[in-house]
Symmetry: C2
């Protein structure tokens, strides 16, 4: 509940659900950063300085850092340090989409929660609760489980109909049910539901009570912010983190894009 | 087929299906390596020098390296360089269990295939073929898809019954079917099936033709090598990679453990 509390405080204070995805693809970073000693970090610092007033969370995706090897790992570390030092009331999410067997996950727990110091990590459900226990046990951190992802082909398995309680339901619904009923003993699970499937997003919200949702897919991926705002909030008008990555960080004016989204969100927040 | 050919050559030459899992957990590495400039790499080099005659593949799990930050990433790089320089006919598998949306997976493709230079990577199926396309397009590399994992709780979702062609089948079977029928256009897909579920392993083999299987879970996890040998081979008596990690690398005498397993395998190989 520690991180959820931090999220709610930030949402209330800044009237925003916006998360900026720090998908700092080196091939897309403006040229003025490329001659710095660590281009990805310097770019992130600039983005953070431009956008922090309008966000509740930042979410670097690890793929873009691992593509730069050691230097990328250092950029990730410097970014998380910069955030925790200067903006400790903003939630930090490592978009890592990890999920291994139990004893191995301990390595990722050390890497992401302890050494880098992120508040939250995204996780694949496929290996089940028993495997993810090293993450779930960390009541001071958040495990964000993939339920319905934003990509065009997410239905291949996620929409498969599974036999359940005498009827059938889609796999995404079974995953959501298991997390809500069994995995969330430490009240530290959130779920991923893509903005590109607003009807399913609505069904997921109806199934999970007040559990926070991380919603990727607005902007470049085609999801619509206003549709998300209508269906994603919990009973207290909170509990949602809406991510935009490329649509903000590679815009001509990232600050203006962040303000635009935050204004829309603010107009839809309960007073 | 390039990597599958490399695997088959090695299996034939050394009469082995053995893969050593370089799960080089820093807290378990013998103390004599800990004062080296890069303990994980020096330990791996020693393990490789002890065991290479008896293996067809090495498989570092990235979690144990990421837990050491930049130094760990460097260890991974040095290990892969050491292998490709000295033992180019041994298959190298990055046990990364990745799986993101398509544009993001490109980052992991660069990291694992291009920069580090691994032959193969393990992948989560949950986001579907469309998302994994950046891996699948690489006909010079191998995508190893998780189907039935070795952990005790793998059944939570993987064994769920899915409605399929008028009947039902377990999710693991649906994943295997999709990979065999749709994802394998470049003949570069392999599957993961845990040694801890030999009956399911047998069913998977019956369903996938000659596609190679990566089989984790013997040794520390409780899977039995002889049961695996009975059911995992393809119609040509090949197409299987059997992994042991802790049972070899943290044994008092890793070489002796590797020989023991290779001898058992060799006795079961077709002449």
């Amino acid at each position: 509940m520690i991180i959820e509390h931090k999220l709610e405080e930030r949402i209330r204070k800044k009237k925003t659900f916006l998360c900026v995805g720090l998908d700092s693809d080196i091939s897309k970073i403006p040229t003025q950063f490329l001659n710095k000693s660590n281009p990805q970090f310097e770019f992130n610092r600039w983005i953070i300085d431009q956008t922090n007033e309008f966000v509740c969370a930042y979410k670097p995706n690890l793929a873009f850092y691992e593509a730069q090897g050691e230097l990328g790992w250092r950029a990730l570390q410097l970014t998380q340090e910069y955030l925790s030092t200067n903006y400790p009331d903003i939630v930090t999410i490592a978009d890592a989409k990890r999920g291994d067997i139990g004893s191995t996950n301990q390595g990722y727990v050390e890497a992401i929660f302890d050494n880098l110091g992120f508040d939250a990590i995204t996780l694949h459900p496929y290996l089940g609760q028993e495997a993810l226990q090293p993450f779930l046990e960390r009541s001071d951190k958040v495990s964000i489980i993939l339920v319905k992802t934003s990509n065009p082909g997410s239905g291949e398995f996620q929409d498969q109909l599974v036999v359940d309680s005498g009827g059938t339901k889609p796999l995404w619904s079974v995953v959501a049910k298991q997390v809500v009923n069994g995995w969330n003993k430490n009240k530290n699970c959130w779920l991923v539901a893509g903005a590109t499937y607003p009807k399913i997003l609505k069904q997921i919200r109806s199934q999970i009570g007040d559990m926070p949702l991380l919603v990727p897919g607005i902007g470049a991926q085609g999801g619509d912010l206003e549709s998300v705002l209508k269906v994603a909030k919990n009973s207290r008008g909170l509990g949602v983190v809406i991510n935009s990555s490329r649509g903000i960080i590679f815009a001509a004016n990232p600050k203006r894009e962040a303000i635009k989204l935050q204004s829309l969100i603010s107009a839809n927040l309960r007073s």
